[in-house]
Subunit: 262 residues, 2 copies
Amino acid sequence: MRYWEREKQVLHLLEANGAVSMTEICAITGASVATTRRDFDELQKKGLAQRTHGGLRLPQKKEEPGRRYVNGTEILDDIDREKQIIAREAAAQVQAGESIFIGAGKTCNMFAALLRDIERLTVVTTSVTAVLELAECPNISVTLLGGDIHTGKNYIETLDPDINHTLRGYFFDKVFLTVEGVDLERGYTVQDKNRTGLYTQLSRMTRRLYMLLDSAKFDRRAFATMFPPEKACRVISTRNMPDKFVEFYRKQGISCTLLPIE
Amino acid sequence: MRYWEREKQVLHLLEANGAVSMTEICAITGASVATTRRDFDELQKKGLAQRTHGGLRLPQKKEEPGRRYVNGTEILDDIDREKQIIAREAAAQVQAGESIFIGAGKTCNMFAALLRDIERLTVVTTSVTAVLELAECPNISVTLLGGDIHTGKNYIETLDPDINHTLRGYFFDKVFLTVEGVDLERGYTVQDKNRTGLYTQLSRMTRRLYMLLDSAKFDRRAFATMFPPEKACRVISTRNMPDKFVEFYRKQGISCTLLPIE
DNA sequence: CTCAATTTGAGCGATAATGAGCGAAAATGA
DNA sequence: TCATTTTCGCTCATTATCGCTCAAATTGAG
């Protein structure tokens, strides 16, 4: 049986059942598992099916662009669980009447969602998703900084390379940021260079700069460097933080909260 | 039975009964409890179900305060149907490569959602909800103007009384706005006075200012006046527009599209 | 026919899925 | 409340599948 015949067969069965198994197809087409495997790879490459262990399934309905269910706080894996624990600790630091800045990222979304009951809170942010968490809270005054929309996996943020003049005259009791990576040599790094200007400026506009770092951030380098790791700030992370970072922060005298992972 | 078959079975039964038991599924699929347990974990991780002792339940959709599901495009009544028709006509006016401004409101949300496939579109807006509709379209450059967050029934917008300096240097091919009310004496009126400055400025920054007016807007007065009704602009509305408005616009030589309500 | 390119099949260690067993925790019922 | 039963979470051994490479078979061109 030639490969186009096999492909036709596979697609037919796939259409009918929603999924087919490797052994099933091998039996029907008479081809070896190696060949069937290659067929499956091919079909996946064409986007006609999706490979699974032991078989193929119909490609999941693609959500329309822009219509994606915006949910930047859902816990999907262990790293998300870490983020949630970190967000809780960060939220515990915020008190009524304070003015804070919130960065963009999933941890920050979770963090924002935990602030709803704090009285007379003033929040400034570049995160559209964080705004969604707080928009309807009458006790919280939310200001969204403007700029071009950039979309990450779990967040939407605004980026404005000339943002600094907008911030003039503000002072924050606390600033909460996440980054894409931390590295002892390169420091805190982010993917978009337009963020570095804002974040660096923010570090000068507060006495309490919190970095929220889950364990996926350590020893990773993103494109643009913001500031060196010894820059004075407070770190909230989990016990998964590698020893060399723990030691480094301790040596620098930087307050470093390591939360247990329940 | 492979795991995708089990998943299909489980989801099917879950949909039908609202809950399934572990032993039940084990019997049906022929898999061991260990495997079924893992399946359940997987489904919970995907957010498709919620684990309980001895089984699975449908995830309860809880509406936390502030976490209200932001859906600014849902059609709930006849007025919404009008808005949808108006939005479609407005979207038909937009061409590839243009730069447009979108205001805040349900009609504008619907309008934004219809722009996703237009190539090389530049969108500037104060509507956070409109941004959500367009954020993930790579063909569209979206800029969100900053400001304080204000929440309406069907939208979230930013308001900045000093916005005008940010707009300096921009020019829009078309500007699409809605208002809270139109009145032949008072003109276009909105609830928040901070919007009038921006909207008045916008009317000077384009040659094509479209007003999107459903029939609930006529003969209503909101708090703040923006500009008089004879101010040059194009109107998109439905045949429900009262005759005196039709006559007025015609006398003023203002282009006025009256759409049939299907 | 020869030779190269493509397609297929087989073997290999690595990886993922599965099933069974065990102590701990939770639900059940007196 | 306490004892019993069920379920849970976890680990470990087993099995199936995966990804890969290399050899054999098939195909097509000169």
